[in-house]
């Protein structure tokens, strides 16, 4: 979705203001939100792409007025309301192993990659109302395949519950000028990680 979460290139937010000696959490409640999100995430009712969509899919004014862990809390509340409380309980003794294992997104490739390092590609102009990981600023832009990351779960489909539909994933590099025109930094490039369905070949 073209939501407020898709912030790349938006103006007006002001300077970055790092906090000196920032604590890991700002208040007890942030700890509990983090822990509940991780524990419930291990519960099997939803996947990480559903989680991201539950966080981002809200009115822009609301998204922008909430702090990071408030967005996480709102997302968790929605996931539970829509999909139920976890029925697989993460036990304390399982925590180290579950965190160490993480949630790898790579899958065994079932076809050849369409692109190789150095290929020129153009990103598609898509504007789905659902979840996507192709940011607005990088749509319809010509770039170069910088890396082939592997064959990964496709968030646009996985977020809907229709399966993992894994796809080849690439780092694609764009010049600052391609992304931002004359207002771009000519001595910068931006790489995004783009799934093959986002890309067309440039002849």
């Amino acid at each position: 979705m073209n939501g407020a979460h898709d912030m790349g290139g938006v103006h007006g937010f002001g300077p970055v203001v790092p906090e000196v000696d920032e604590p890991i959490f700002h208040g007890e409640w942030e700890m509990r939100v983090l822990a509940m999100v991780l524990a419930c995430g291990a519960g099997g009712r939803w996947n990480i792409d559903m989680s991201r969509f539950a966080r981002e899919n809200r009115p822009p004014a609301e998204y922008l007025s909430l702090s990071y862990y408030e967005v996480w809390l709102a997302g968790l509340e929605r996931l539970i309301a829509e999909r139920g409380k976890p029925d697989r309980v993460l036990r304390a003794e399982e925590v180290p192993a579950v965190l160490a294992r993480g949630g790898p997104a790579d899958r065994e490739p079932i076809r050849e990659a369409a692109f190789a390092v150095g290929d020129r590609v153009v990103t598609k102009n898509i504007n789905p109302v659902g979840h996507t990981r192709l940011p607005r600023y990088a749509r319809g832009k010509v770039g170069v395949i910088e890396r082939v990351h592997g064959f990964h779960v496709f968030p646009d489909v996985n977020a809907t519950g229709a399966g993992e539909d894994p796809q080849w994933l690439y780092a694609v590099a764009f010049t600052g000028e391609e992304l931002w025109g004359p207002d771009g930094d000519p001595r910068s490039t931006v790489c995004i990680d783009a799934f093959e369905p986002y890309l067309d070949a440039v002849r």
């Binding site: 203001v17 509990r32 509940m36 509340e77 409380k85 993480g102 990351h149 790489c191």
Partner: protein, 205 residues
């Protein structure tokens, strides 16, 4: 945020935890273990070890740049939000900077949880369109000969910046080198804390 708003959030968090625990959906000891992990075990000291090792050990550096997930796992470092790692080496002419414009993806396994500024709208909006302006917010100025490569973490790949080894550190051991490697340097918004002069001529970073 006002005090009453904060209380509302706290009430919601407590209510949710109570309901989840009471229904047997969540093990409260697991919540404590999760918090404890990210408060005391996982943090930038892990990434600093990786960087210091790469500075000291050329073969390790090559393995890190060629396949970061496995090379990092050699040091016993692995896990959630670090399943697919890529290491990005800064050079006198290339400076790497990491962001996630769409949410706040971050290499938890090597850096711990992200700071607030990394998750903030100012950083997420400008890192891709005005990276030198963002670096200036951190007091970092790059020479005109340095190009900036911004990495927007739009999938499950997580990026670790390997900064340049500071000059004047010949003969330092891994632990001493690691003490120079700040979290910000591994995101790309800072330089190693002891870096007075660059390790190679021609760079002002």
């Amino acid at each position: 945020m006002t005090h009453s708003d904060l209380s509302d959030v706290q009430v919601r968090v407590r209510a949710l935890e109570s309901a989840l625990v009471a229904g047997g959906h969540v093990d409260p000891a697991a919540l404590d273990a999760l918090v404890e992990t990210y408060e005391t075990q996982v943090g930038p000291h892990l990434g600093a070890r990786v960087v210091a090792r790469a500075w000291l050990d050329e073969a390790y550096r090559e393995r890190l740049l060629g396949g970061a997930t496995a090379a990092i796992a050699e040091l016993g470092i692995r896990g959630r939000q670090g399943e697919h790692m890529v290491a990005l080496e800064n050079t006198p002419t290339v400076h790497n900077l990491v962001v996630c414009t769409l949410c706040s993806c971050y290499p938890w396994s090597v850096l711990g949880l992200p700071p607030v500024w990394y998750k903030s709208a100012p950083y997420r909006s400008r890192a891709v369109s005005d990276p030198r302006g963002v670096l200036a917010d951190f007091g970092v100025t790059l020479g005109s000969e340095v190009s900036v490569r911004v990495w927007d973490s739009t999938a499950e790949v997580r990026y670790l910046v390997v900064p340049m080894r500071p000059a004047g550190t010949d003969g330092w051991d891994e632990a001493r080198l690691a003490s120079l490697v700040t979290r910000d340097a591994m995101i790309g918004v800072g330089v190693p804390s002891g870096a007075q002069t660059p390790s190679r001529p021609g760079s002002r970073l």
